[in-house]
């Protein structure tokens, strides 16, 4: 019976469920790195080859002095050297990422050598994982300092992605302050990847039902009924915000700027975002304190925090990071798996409470997690699980007989032949214990 109820078998492959981002993130980073190299090479190639040809032709047709040829060659050489320098920089970065991946693979690999969940090594491994999860949670919530400190103390800096999150937080923060510069720069750095993720719906991990990246903002969609069917695109939204800010300034002479801005940055999206663009055009006719929707919400300052959220989502999406902290995922599963109806019961449980040494406190009953797990479902059990010699005391409390007697002996102030209820501290005669049958 016990074999079905409990299990210490460790299936490493399955167990790595939570650890996907650990390897996927460095992969995405090194992919990004590779793309940069490719772009650089492409650019130099496009410059050097034609330039070389031109120089040769010019030299052949004697329209160019040797000095000019030399100058042209020098220019090419210096550009190539620039390329080499940049490539070396990226190479160093790549090496770092690679080192990190190696350590991470090693960390995950070590799990495969642990035979069972009861093993001491598993305990250690799992503690490292918890530290990782906590750091992940801290980073996502913006507690960067703490995250760095914890990672350092625990020596797991290679297993967490401090820099990525720090950068992400910085940009998100700048958006909340109402600055688009950093976010736009990030967009242009990741232009190719952003396009890719729009074309390739399969990158979605978390919400497989959503086809497009932009739809990830489904909550926002509900909140903003008026713009419900719009596909969100970070860069477009940022540009739109810039446009709104120009108009918000309220200076009529600036309206030309606003229109130019719209022409330059918004019209390329006309195929997908036409409704929004038309609305933006309409905005010109409304003052900033307008009560008329949808213009009121376009002017709303909350738009900035929404942009910030959109950025964070897009960012996580791009790097294959789950949209919510892994700790939440682990906890909500774990709390439910551990929770029993007794954990939030009005009556003190006989089997696990802090009142006696015979029992250890259940983690769900422990103050830290009790409130948190209140709204979660409790674990499903198909078999009863009690000590194998249960007796009931006259007050209705059930204990293992052996343990109860053992404990009563140790407790002071109980005479021979008496037992003390460890929960209520009532004292009964040994003969009052009654056998109880639990199937």
């Amino acid at each position: 019976m016990a074999a079905e109820l409990t299990s210490t078998k460790l299936n490493a492959e399955n167990h790595l469920l939570l650890d996907q981002p650990l390897l996927k993130l460095p992969y995405e980073l090194s992919r990004r790195n590779f793309k940069s190299v490719q772009r650089l090479v492409e650019r130099e190639k496009d410059y050097t080859l034609p330039a070389l040809k031109d120089t040769a032709n010019a030299s052949l047709s004697n329209t160019q002095t040797p000095e000019q040829s030399l100058a042209a060659l020098d220019a090419m050489i210096s550009r190539m050297q620039g390329l080499k320098r940049k490539m070396e920089g990226l190479h160093q970065e790549e090496k770092k990422i690679h080192d990190q991946s190696r350590k991470r693979i090693h960390h995950l690999e070590s799990l495969h050598h642990i035979p069972s969940l009861a093993d001491v090594k598993y305990d250690q491994w799992s503690r490292v994982r918890l530290d990782r999860l906590i750091v992940d949670h801290m980073l996502r919530s913006g507690y960067t300092e703490s995250a760095q400190q914890l990672a350092k103390e625990k020596d797991i800096e290679d297993l967490v992605d401090l820099n990525v999150f720090v950068q992400c937080q910085r940009i998100a923060e700048s958006l909340r302050r109402g600055e688009t510069k950093d976010a736009l720069q990030w967009c242009s750095e990741n232009k190719a990847a952003l396009k890719r993720s729009q074309v390739r719906p399969s990158v979605r991990l978390i919400l497989p039902s959503h086809r497009h990246l932009q739809l990830a903002l489904s909550i926002e969609d509900q909140r903003q009924r008026l713009t419900r069917h719009v596909q969100y695109n970070l860069e477009f939204e940022l540009r739109l915000q810039q446009y709104i800010e120009i108009i918000r300034a309220g200076d009529r002479t600036k309206y030309v700027d606003a229109m130019n801005h719209a022409k330059k940055y918004l019209t390329p999206y006309i195929d997908t975002q036409s409704a929004e663009i038309h609305r933006a055009a309409g905005l010109l006719a409304f003052p900033r304190d307008t009560k008329a929707e949808p213009y009121k919400s376009l002017y709303a300052p909350e738009r900035w925090s929404r942009l910030s959220e959109l950025f964070v989502r897009t960012h996580h999406e791009l790097l294959s990071l789950p949209s919510r902290p892994l700790l939440h995922i682990a906890l909500s599963a774990g709390l439910s798996a551990l929770k029993t109806p007794a954990c939030h019961s009005a009556y003190t449980s006989s089997s696990s409470n802090s009142l006696s040494t015979t029992t250890s406190v259940c983690p769900i009953c422990s103050t830290e997690l009790n409130e948190l797990s209140r709204s979660l479902p409790y674990a499903h059990h198909t078999k009863s699980y009690v000590e194998n010699d249960p007796i009931v005391l006259p007050n209705g409390r059930v204990y293992g007989q052996h343990r109860l007697l053992e404990m009563s002996k140790k407790v002071g102030c109980v005479e021979a032949g008496k037992v003390k209820d460890p929960t209520t501290a009532e004292v009964f005669d040994e003969s009052e214990m009654k056998k109880v049958y639990i199937m």
Binding site: L5, S7, T8, A12, N14, L17, L23, K24, Y27, S30, R31, Q38, L49, L52, A56, S69, D74, M76, K84, E88, E94, E109, H112, L117, A118, R129, H137, M138, G142, E145, S146, Q149, L150, L331, S332, A333, A337, A342, S349, S350, S351, L355, T357, S360, V361, I364, C365, S366, E368, S375, P377, A379, H381, K383, S384, Y385, V386, V398, G412, P422
Partner: protein, 411 residues
């Protein structure tokens, strides 16, 4: 996993070779030598330049080739990753109840950090949290003490200052105990809390004193002292301290005294395991931690750790369930209970669990376990259904009883 490792190895090799940069260098060399040639002999300029075309082009081609190789390497690596995590997307976020309890999670983390003795991280964390909550910009944060943060953090039950201090005490005691073999702070603590500990049936104080006795016996601070003086010190200690234990631990004290007689030959005596128990210190430290946390109403091991680990164990099962439910388009009907049993290691079962053998449901406050006079237990709802208000036969034995006689039990 092996595949991932292999692909990663391959990528590393390519990375080490650093072919791309080498190729760029060779292009530079080509251009440079042509430049030198022209500089040396300007009349040959056009020929040199014409000759240069193809080599430079092919050198760019080889740069591209090496890039292509890297690309295919990356792709293979990505495929091996996909294979490793195949069909294992993270569970969907639809039921994310926890996000709305950010505060509670942060509190749990703060407690966890305190519990693990990471005091400096904890205080940074609390400070950062206060900063975020109050929206105070950076410079102000220095002046906010973590103490305040803690009270801000939990308006309800836990007075976190108190907890913080308590944990600091605990770590001080543990540190003394483990690093300096100094049991006195621990003994002092157990004396301060004597009554509660006794009511709990804890042996902590005696265990600590016994260890102190053994320690003195072995020579205390200076392990090289002659046996006689160690024994003397231990005996004195026993005379001074042990009398309070006599009513409860007479037998154990007698044992310790009896050991004195075997002193020169303790190794072969029946007392060997009391006096040469290598894990004694760790055991005592553990039982101290347990008692200490229990008095605070906390479990001995970090709940966050247990919950996260249990979560990792439970996730594959839950995920499978989710896929099946999605495939069958069924909803998760029982609101309060997980729809599937999750096998956890035995050490993760804390409460007794009673599943009514008739209805197969777990008992709850609303539907408590009831014991019939024959000693069999079923859930109250099952009982009501069986008896219909009159005498009925127990479903497990021939005895009959009236529902009035059934009694509620607490597991």
């Amino acid at each position: 996993m092996d595949l991932v490792q292999k692909e990663h190895e391959r990528l590393s090799k390519r990375l080490k070779a650093n072919q791309g940069t080498k190729n760029v260098q060779s292009t530079i060399d080509l251009l440079q030598s042509a430049r030198d040639a022209i500089a040396a002999d300007p009349s040959q300029a056009s020929i040199t330049l014409a000759k240069l075309q193809n080599p430079v082009k092919s050198s760019f081609d080889s740069i591209n080739d090496s890039l292509k190789e890297t690309h295919s390497g990356l792709n293979k690596y990505s495929k091996s990753l996909d294979k490793l995590f195949k069909d294992r997307p993270l569970p969907s976020t639809e039921h994310d109840v926890l996000s709305s309890h950010e505060n509670l999670i942060n509190r749990a983390i703060a407690m966890h950090l305190l519990r693990e003795g990471q005091f400096s991280v904890a205080s940074t964390f609390l400070a950062e949290m206060t900063e975020k909550k109050t929206g105070v910009p950076e410079p102000g944060s220095e002046t906010i003490s973590p103490e305040n943060a803690a009270t801000l953090l939990n308006p309800e039950e836990v007075p976190s200052n108190e907890v913080r201090k308590q944990f600091a005490t605990m770590y001080y005691i543990l540190h003394e105990l483990q690093e300096n073999s100094n049991l006195l702070p621990a003994i002092q603590w157990s004396r301060d809390n004597k009554e509660i500990l006794q009511a709990r049936g804890s042996n902590l104080e005696f265990e600590l004193c016994r260890l102190q006795f053994v320690w003195l016996f072995h020579g205390g601070q200076i392990p090289q002292t002659p046996v006689a003086s160690g024994r003397q010190a231990a005996l004195e200690y026993a005379r001074r301290e042990f009398h309070v234990f006599l009513p409860r631990y007479l037998r154990e004290v007698q044992q310790l005294m009896g050991a004195m007689a075997f002193c020169p030959n303790l190794q072969d005596s029946p007392y060997q395991n009391i006096f040469n128990n290598p894990s004694a210190w760790a055991d005592v430290a553990q039982s101290f931690t347990r008692e200490f946390c229990s008095l605070l109403g906390l479990s001995a091991d970090s709940p966050l750790y247990i919950a996260a680990t249990a979560g990792a164990i439970a996730l594959p099962t839950l995920l499978k369930l989710q896929t099946i439910m999605k495939a069958k388009r069924t909803e998760w009907t029982s609101q309060n209970e997980l729809p599937v049993e999750i096998p956890l290691p035995p050490s993760y079962l804390f409460h007794s669990i009673f599943v009514c053998p008739v209805s197969k449901e777990q008992t709850t406050d609303e539907n408590p376990p009831m014991m019939m006079p024959c000693g069999h237990v079923i859930a109250e709802e099952s009982l009501k259904r069986l008896c219909k208000g009159s005498r009925f036969k127990c479903p497990y034995c021939p005895s009959e009883s009236h529902p009035r006689e059934a009694r509620k039990v607490f597991l």
